[in-house]
Every structure is written in C-alpha cells, then in structure tokens.
C-alpha cells in the first residue's frame, strides 16, 4: 500500500529522469525520512579523538540512507550536551528542542551527547530526542552509554555502535557495524595470481585470508559468516576450496572429478552450496552440501552456465548466467526446471546479486555500452524490465554485492585505471573507495 502511494509521489520525477518508477521508488524509500540534526560532540579528556568521532557518527548515519541529514551550518550556536542542558524555551539559541524543530534547521530529531575519559577508558553518553515533543521526557527516544579504549580507535568504535543503535531505532536494517567484505587482491600473490582478502566495511583492517600463491578467485561468504568458499588453482585445475574466515583454516570439501568446479554460492541456511561444474561436459549448475558431498546436477542444457545465486527468501529459485551468444541472466527452479531469461537480451549481463528482500537484484550489464563496459544495475526480479542504472561508465564496474543492511552495495571498478573495491548506496550515491593498494576485485559483503 505504502509502495503504491510513494509510487504516485515520485512517479513524475522518475519519468522525468527517464527511469522506470517502481524500482526508483524502492531505492529512494518512502520519501518521509526522519530529519536528523547531529550536534558535534565534545570530549572531557578525550577531545583529541572527537574530530574522528564526529566524522564517524555523521558518516554512518548519513550512509545509512535512513535519514535526511540536516546541514550543520544551519545549527544554532547553543548545543546541549546532556538532557540537563535542555530548556523548554531558548529563543532559538539552541538549548530548547523547538530551536531545532523550526526553520532553518527543520530537524525532526536531535542527536547529542559527549565523551569523557574515565578511569582510563573512553565513555560515550548519547541521546536522541524528538524535537517536536513538547515534553522533554517523552521526547527522549534513545539514551545510551558506550565504552571504548581511550584512543582514536576507541572513539571510532563507540561512534559506530551509537550510530548502529540510532539506525535500528528508526527501523533501519542496522548499520554495517561488524560486517566485512571479502575480495581478491594481487598483493603478495605473485604474478597473475590472486589471494583472498577481507576488510571492514569502512575500509579498515585489511588482511589476507589465504597464502596459496595461486590463482584464488570468486570468494563466496556464507550467510552466517562462518565459511568462505572460493575457486582456486592451488591444485592445478580450478577447484572449490572451503575455509573458515575466522582462522583461515581449510575445511573439507569434496570436489567432483571435472576440469572445472567454480563460482560457488550459498543457500540462505548456509547448509548447501550451488556451483558450476564441467563434470558432465560443458559448465552446468550443480548443488552440494557445504562439504561438497551429495552433489547433484541441476541444469541440463547445452549452454555455458555459471554463477548460480539462490534467492535468500525462496531457496527454490535461482538466478544464473548463461551463454554463449551474449551472456544473460536467467532464472530457474532449484530442480532445474522453468528456465527463463531474466535480462532482456541486450548487451551482456552477469554477476546477479540478490537483495536481502529476495525481490530485487543487482547485476552488471553492458547495456548501452560497448562489449566489456559493464555498469551496475538494479532490477525487480518480478518485473526485470524495470531496472535502473547505478554507475555510468566510470571505468568498468562489476560484481555488485549487497550489504546486510540492504541499503549498500560493494562492487569493483577500474575507474582509477586499476581495479579497486568501492561501496555505494543503492541509489548510486555516496561512492567510497575502500582499497588503494595493489589490484582488488570480486567483493562480497559478509555479516562479519
């Protein structure tokens, strides 16, 4: 119902942009976002870390796309640090909630608080108030304390935690806190080789997971974050290897006798994987337990088929990529029946990535561009002709993968001349580069 209403609201704008309305509506949300004013926090004995803290808090809230972030330049000069500072009336000086609710700030909610060094640790006290409530007590939406180490890392940590709680309070799918991105990097891998790496969602703590000094590609993190499957040439021909991302240790996996077992992906319950194998000749879709046992052939066609992706809400539905003749995205049942093309046959399409809602998917497509010039697109699986383009030929953009919050995407782009990992919001805004060293590609977003 809500979707229909918002459709009407944005339809005109969407048509003006030449984009189909439904998917655009889905991306931009209801249009009635909470308008957030976030005061710059100060620190008692922790002031050196507050620039990082404030940047992190604002960045997380802004990046969630849950809020309409009100620009700081419009804030009044008086900034409350704790509820005791609030007055019922302050004549637009800033210590009364109406000062924030009215013009020019027009915030529906105010985020304030402070940090202090206490017993050698950093303590954050944070509050969120509804500016439109007459009664300050009923206006309080969130009051929370957080503890971190007394350094920049501790300040960043508590900022992430506070932001996460605020986002969840407003119905967001949670922040990205704790999530990690798995990708491949040529750093330390040797010529033409790749290792599996991981990085925090914000670009910190990059590290290699494998040291196979081989061609190791196509990482696939299990939905619970406990296992990582990937394709490696460590034993000659392409094989699937399973490791624990926590320890880096290899887990048992039975590969079929085939010239190629590749492009693994997970079922939502993390109990089975789907992958492409040439065990029967040409590359076809198979499924197996997470230890590789009990493999069965799913598709039975003469096509080249790779990249099976199980619907996160309905494990009976798969997307996959098939060719030859302009590789396109197809769907079929988990039994290999009801095969039908999803993309419209234009250009070449690949890398389908289901949104957590099981309804939409991101993918890379050369539609409108020359061969090889991939861009990231979004489509509605129920109406795949309803799509929107998120990148616009800033280099080659591939391998989109959804964040657990369903609002962010990670992808690889060679827009700087070298392939690197980027994140962006589902509307294509707020593009952030996560990696700068070496060559990096094939990212997937894991819950941890």
């Amino acid at each position: 119902m809500k979707k229909t209403l918002t459709f009407l609201l944005v339809a005109i704008a969407a048509i003006a942009l030449g984009q189909s309305p439904t998917i655009t509506t889905w991306i931009t949300g209801s249009g009635a976002k909470p308008a957030l004013a976030v005061i710059d926090f100060r620190g008692a004995g922790s002031q050196p870390y507050m620039d990082k803290f404030n940047a992190t808090l604002f960045g997380d809230l802004n990046g969630s796309s849950v809020f309409d972030m009100r620009p700081k330049g419009m804030y009044p000069l008086g900034n409350p640090q704790r509820p005791e500072d609030l007055r019922t009336e302050d004549n637009n000086q800033g210590f009364a909630l109406p000062d924030w609710a009215g013009a020019p700030v027009n915030a529906s909610h105010l985020v304030f608080g402070y940090t202090a060094a206490q017993n050698g640790v950093l303590v954050l006290s944070g509050w969120v108030y509804d500016t439109r409530q007459a009664n300050a007590q009923s206006a309080q939406l969130l009051a929370q304390r957080y503890v971190g180490t007394l350094d920049e890392a501790g300040a960043i940590k508590v900022a992430h935690e506070f932001a996460n709680d605020i986002i969840q309070k407003f119905g967001g799918a949670g922040s990205l806190l704790g999530s990690r991105i798995y990708f491949i990097s040529d750093r330390g891998a040797g010529t033409n080789n790749w290792e599996i790496w991981s990085v925090n969602w914000d670009g910190t703590d990059q590290k290699p997971l494998t040291r196979l000094r081989s061609l190791s590609i196509q990482p696939a993190i299990s939905p619970d974050g406990e296992k990582l499957a990937f394709t490696t040439y460590a034993k000659g021909r392409p094989r699937i290897m399973m490791i624990s991302p926590e320890t880096g240790r290899e887990l048992p996996f039975l590969n079929q006798e085939a010239s190629m077992n590749a492009t693994p992906s997970w079922t939502p319950d993390a109990q089975r994987i789907f992958y492409a194998s040439t065990a029967s000749g040409t590359s076809q879709i198979y499924s197996a337990g997470f230890d590789g046992r009990g493999f069965t052939r799913i598709s039975r066609r003469e096509a080249i088929e790779v990249e099976p992706k199980v619907n996160p809400k309905n494990p009976d539905v798969l997307l996959f990529v098939a060719g030859p003749g302009n590789q396109q995205i197809y769907r079929m049942s988990a039994l290999g029946t009801q095969v039908q093309r999803v993309t419209n046959g234009e250009g070449e399409a690949s890398n389908p990535s289901w949104h957590p809602d099981g309804q939409h998917f991101a993918f890379s497509w050369t539609r409108g561009y020359t061969k090889g010039d991939f861009n990231i697109f979004l489509a509605d699986a129920g109406n795949p002709l309803d799509f929107v383009q998120l990148t616009h030929s800033e280099g080659r953009n591939e391998n989109p993968s959804w964040a657990p919050d369903g609002r962010h995407l990670v992808f690889a782009s060679n827009r700087t001349g070298v392939s690197q990992i980027y994140t962006m919001l589902a509307d294509g805004s707020q593009v952030k580069q996560l990696t700068t060293q070496g060559k990096n590609r094939s990212p997937v977003w894991g819950v941890k």
Partner: protein, 266 residues
C-alpha cells in the same frame, strides 16, 4: 733370377746325385760338389744409387683428397737428406718415407717437415671434408630440450572468435600441425601429458569466461584426439581471462587472448 747358365739343369743335377750315391755306396769319400752362391741380383731401384749429399727434399700426397665425414684418406710421403721427419696435426715424428691413414672430421691440411743437416723443407697436402648433409626436418633434438620448451617452440595457439569455441579453418590448420608435432614429442616423452589451456579476452565477465575457456580447451582437445592424439595425454584447463598474453584494450590483443594454448602437464 732367370739366368739359366748359373744353375745346373735339373737333369744334370739328378745325374750328379746318382753319381754321388754310387760313390758313397762304394765307401769312398767323394768330393762335395758345391753349387756356387747366386750372384746378388742388382735391385731395380733408383734410390739404390748412393745418395748425393744436399738439401732435404719432401713430397706429401693424399688420396683421396676429398672425403665425407667418417671416411678416411691415406697420406704418403717421401723425403731425402733428412734425419728428422715429422707430420703436424698431432702425428709427430715419422719415418723418412711412409704412409698413414687419417680420418679428419673437417677439412684439414697436413704439413710434412723434413729437417736435415743442410736445412729443412716442408710439403703440404689438404684433405677436403665435405659438409654433412642437412638433417631431416625434424623440429629439434630430443633430450636436449625440456618438453615445455618443445611445446612452446613447436606448437601454436589456436585462436577463436569472440564468445565462441568453434574451430575456424585457421585453427584447424594450426591444430593439425600441432597434432603432428605432438606425436613426435610424445614419442620422445612417452610419459608426458600436455595441458590444453582455454583462454578468453578481457571483455566478458570473469565468471562466464571460466566456462567459455573450458569449452575452448575441450574443443581443441577433441580435435587433437580425432587426429590420433591419445585423450589421456591431454588435460583441459580453463584460465578464463586470468592469464592474458597481452593487456591492450584493442582487437589485436583480444584476438591473441582468445586462444587454446599448450603447456606441459608434468
């Protein structure tokens, strides 16, 4: 030795012998009849003449003067007025006259040096050794190169059209030549196996290209098997677009990368 006058005739000798027996049998000591020693016959040699002291002379000939490798030739030489005669090329001191068999591998000139009291002289003779005939057109000598070197030198990439694993006419010719080369290589490396690698250009997705490269490798493998290469000697492996031979973004480079490549499977 033909001078009959110097010898008694056979008949007269028999008479003499009978006479001698008769005498002996009579108990009387008969005088021993001696045949006079033959007169030395003058030898029919010019060198038999007394040498006239003078400067040394030397002659050296070789027969035949032209050989092919492995054949031999005979050196003949004579010298005069020399008390020290030698041949070079490692033979050393030799008799004043003589012959010697040689079998040089390459064209060689022999020098005879004669040293005498009144000086020295030398003579030369050359044995021409013909160049060996060219070897049969086989690629190279087994055992001196690794199989990987052989494969890279003698086999060529079969090229493909975009998003295709069809064997074109050009690829057919290349694979046929590769099959012939592989037959020889497998004879020399009976335990070897060969990887048939499938590669793609950079344009399709990395994932799809892995499947496409596998098809290319399989099609090249199947073609070679049809030409008699044992299937168990050939192992397909797809590298998708992960191992390009060039990285330029143009069709010339794309074409080089759309290939079936051959490497040692050992």
């Amino acid at each position: 030795m033909k001078s009959h006058s110097l010898f008694v005739s056979r008949n007269s000798l028999a008479v003499l012998l009978l006479a001698a027996i008769a005498v002996t049998s009579c108990g009387k000591k008969a005088p021993v009849i001696r045949t006079p020693p033959p007169v030395p016959v003058a030898e029919n040699r010019t060198t038999a003449l007394p040498a006239v002291p003078g400067a040394p002379t030397a002659t050296l000939t070789v027969e035949p003067s032209s050989i092919t490798p492995g054949q031999s030739a005979t050196l003949r030489w004579t010298t005069t007025n020399a008390n020290d005669v030698s041949l070079n090329t490692g033979i050393g001191t030799v008799a004043a006259s003589g012959n010697r068999t040689v079998n040089p591998a390459t064209t060689s000139t022999y020098t005879l040096t004669a040293n005498g009291p009144l000086g020295s002289t030398s003579a030369t003779a050359t044995v021409t050794v013909a160049a060996p005939p060219p070897p049969p057109v086989t690629p190279s000598r087994g055992g001196t190169q690794s199989i990987e070197q052989r494969l890279q030198a003698e086999l060529h990439d079969a090229l493909y059209e975009y998003d295709s694993n069809n064997i074109s006419d050009d690829a057919r010719a290349i694979l046929t030549a590769n099959a012939n080369a592989l037959k020889i290589i497998f004879r020399e490396f009976p335990n070897a196996s060969v990887n048939v690698e499938g590669h793609c250009d950079e344009r399709g997705s990395a994932e799809y290209n892995l499947g496409l490269g596998d098809r290319r490798a399989s099609s090249a493998r199947d073609f070679l098997v049809q030409l008699g290469i044992p299937a168990d000697k050939l192992k397909t492996i797809s590298y998708g677009k992960e191992r390009p031979t060039c990285t330029e973004a143009d069709e010339a480079c794309y074409q080089k990368n759309r290939r079936a490549h051959f490497s040692s499977g050992q």
